[in-house]
């Protein structure tokens, strides 16, 4: 069995009376490509916040390569090889695209060796993402679609072992969606990075990932191959609002 890179055990997040994430278990192994789906408010993003250290879980443990990081600040997660993107691009608007990527390389990525050439410098990361021509453009002046790609580039700068992608395909056209899905596949295949991908566009995601987790009201209701999950009764109910699926 491959090494477990990132593990969440019984993770719960409670905001006052609301339980956003409810006892979720997740193990991410080396070179795995995992999708997380679920209706709005299912707790997907909150789960990502805990996996990257932004939100401290109310209960449960988080570990990276067997090392317990529960309650540690985000920069520690980054230093241990967990990098993420945000749903709404959070690029440094006033810095150039290249400086945005260099940022991660200067901090989390500085002491992390990575075997792949694409992680060597900001230019090659931008080239991998097809952003080479806008390297010296301020990030705030890029199109939203390109800012999303740059978000991934910033995360690459941290030279991660696990990449957490939060709805990188939201608002893209059908064709852009296809390109992004392929890119995510290449990240895993060519760079050897494990990827956990949250997406609303379920169809595009199901075609790429090998394993799908389904969250509903904070709980994990299914975890398995896309084919298996698509036939799962609890999943259909969650998506169709509790009605019996047509036979």
């Amino acid at each position: 069995m491959a090494d477990v890179l990132l593990a969440a055990r019984g993770v719960s997040v409670r905001f006052g009376g609301l339980i956003a994430v409810d006892g979720v278990d997740l193990e991410v192994s080396e070179r795995e490509l995992i999708g997380i789906i679920g209706p709005n408010g299912a707790g997907k993003t909150t789960l990502f916040h805990t996996l990257s250290g932004l939100v401290r879980p109310t209960a449960g443990r988080l570990s990276v390569r067997g090392r317990d990081l529960t309650g540690r600040p985000p920069h520690v997660f980054a230093a241990h090889g967990v990098a993420r993107t945000f749903q709404t691009p959070r690029v440094f608007r006033e810095m150039t695209a290249e400086a945005n990527v260099r940022f991660g390389l200067e901090f989390a990525g500085r002491r992390r060796a990575h075997p792949h050439d694409a992680f060597d410098d900001a230019r090659s990361i931008l080239a991998f993402l097809g952003l080479a021509e806008v390297a010296s453009v301020p990030a705030g002046a890029l199109t939203p679609a390109r800012q999303r790609l740059l978000e991934i580039g910033m995360a690459f700068g941290a030279r991660p072992d696990v990449l957490l992608l939060d709805e990188v395909a939201a608002g893209l056209t059908e064709r852009e969606l296809e390109t992004t899905a392929q890119l995510i596949r290449r990240v895993r295949d060519e760079l050897g990075v494990a990827v956990v991908w949250i997406e609303h566009a379920v169809r595009a995601l199901m075609g790429v990932v090998e394993r799908v987790l389904v969250l509903h009201q904070g709980r994990k209701i299914a975890d398995g191959s896309p084919a298996l999950v698509a036939r799962d009764r609890a999943v259909t109910e969650a998506y169709l609002g509790g009605e019996e699926p047509p036979a």
Binding site: S52, G53, L54, P73, P74, H75, F77, A78, A79, A83, R84, F86, R90, V91, F92, R93, E94, M95, F103, G104, E106, F107, A108, G109, R110, E133, V134, S136, V137, P138, A141, L142, T143, A145, R146, M154, A155, G157, A158, T173, R175, E176, T179
Partner: protein
């Protein structure tokens, strides 16, 4: 400008300015000291608050602490030790306070740092009253005017040189990242807490050293004089008017402002605060990036314009 070139230019300018005591009249020399003092204060303020957008109003607290180190030590300690000690006390104080309050942002941080000046002022007043039975101190044994001038010049030049080095360093990059999006910087591996404390303490060092250096210009020192909120506000004003994100902006603005203030104070002793206040409002409303943004806006516009158009063009997707 690269950091090395900025440091060399600062050193050269300081060497030229070092001749002033032998060339200028007493009045002009004291005017130059005022310029240098605000240059050092504004540049050191912008060192931290410029990139992070954390609006610190603690300059008066650091300045006053430095001044009090001189007040306590000038008669017994070597002069250089007073100045360095003033800087160190302010830096240590900033690090301790920073550890407690640097998680606050925006108005909360501004108000808290402002309150800090008042807190230190009252603490020192209390301390002096209960242990030394005094409300102020007369400084008798002080260095001569030339030494004071050269010290102020040295502190200001050091502040500018260090600010240039910080801008080019990882600390500077981290501070810009914190100003851009603090959480994002964290997720990319920046220990934002440590970087903010380092930046805040470094900035406080120069404010404290400056306070220690200029304190001897007053022969009588008491808390209201050296913890004067006006010094802190004027520093912020100068840096913002000049453009807190730049190095040259606060520097140039400090010189212009000190001369302008002096002129107003001599010509219109009652109206000059009104004029200053109005100026601040107008500048914040219409030129939030400071005067430096006027210069910068013109320069890269031509160069980046083409590339930016390319980014939004048909190559999309």
């Amino acid at each position: 400008m690269s950091a090395a070139r900025a440091v060399v230019a600062t050193g050269a300018a300081a060497l030229v300015l070092a001749a002033a005591p032998w060339l200028l009249s007493d009045f002009l020399l004291s005017l130059t000291v005022a310029c240098l003092m605000y240059a050092g204060l504004a540049v050191s303020w912008a060192m931290f608050s410029g990139p992070t957008h954390y609006l610190s109003l603690a300059t008066a607290a650091f300045f006053g602490l430095g001044a009090y180190v001189t007040a306590w030590g000038v008669a017994t300690l070597p002069w250089a030790l007073c100045v360095a000690g003033g800087g160190l006390v302010a830096a240590v104080f900033a690090a301790l306070v920073g550890a407690a309050v640097l998680h606050l942002r925006g108005a909360y941080f501004a108000v808290l740092t402002f309150g800090l000046g008042e807190l230190v002022r009252h603490a020192i007043t209390y301390f002096e009253k209960s242990y030394f039975r005094t409300v102020g101190r007369v400084l008798t044994k002080t260095p001569d005017a030339t030494t004071v001038y050269l010290t102020v010049l040295g502190v200001a030049a050091a502040a500018v040189a260090v600010a240039a080095v910080v801008r080019a360093s990882r600390l500077g990059l981290a501070l810009r990242g914190i100003g851009g999006d603090e959480e994002r910087a964290q997720t990319l591996g920046v220990s934002t807490r440590r970087m903010k404390i380092a930046g805040f303490a470094l900035s406080a060092f120069f404010a404290g050293a400056m306070g220690a250096a200029v304190a001897v210009r007053w022969t009588y020192i008491d808390p209201p004089a050296v913890f004067n909120p006006f010094i802190g506000l004027q520093t912020v004003l100068i840096a913002m008017v000049g453009g807190a994100a730049t190095l040259g902006g606060p520097l140039a603005s400090a010189v212009v402002f000190s001369l302008f203030t002096e002129f107003l104070r001599l010509r219109f002793p009652y109206a000059f605060l009104l004029v200053l206040g109005t100026l601040l409002i107008v500048l914040v409303l219409y030129l939030p990036g400071g005067l430096a943004s006027l210069v910068e806006r013109r320069r890269p516009a031509a160069a980046a314009g083409g590339a930016a158009r390319g980014a939004g063009g048909p190559t999309r997707g």
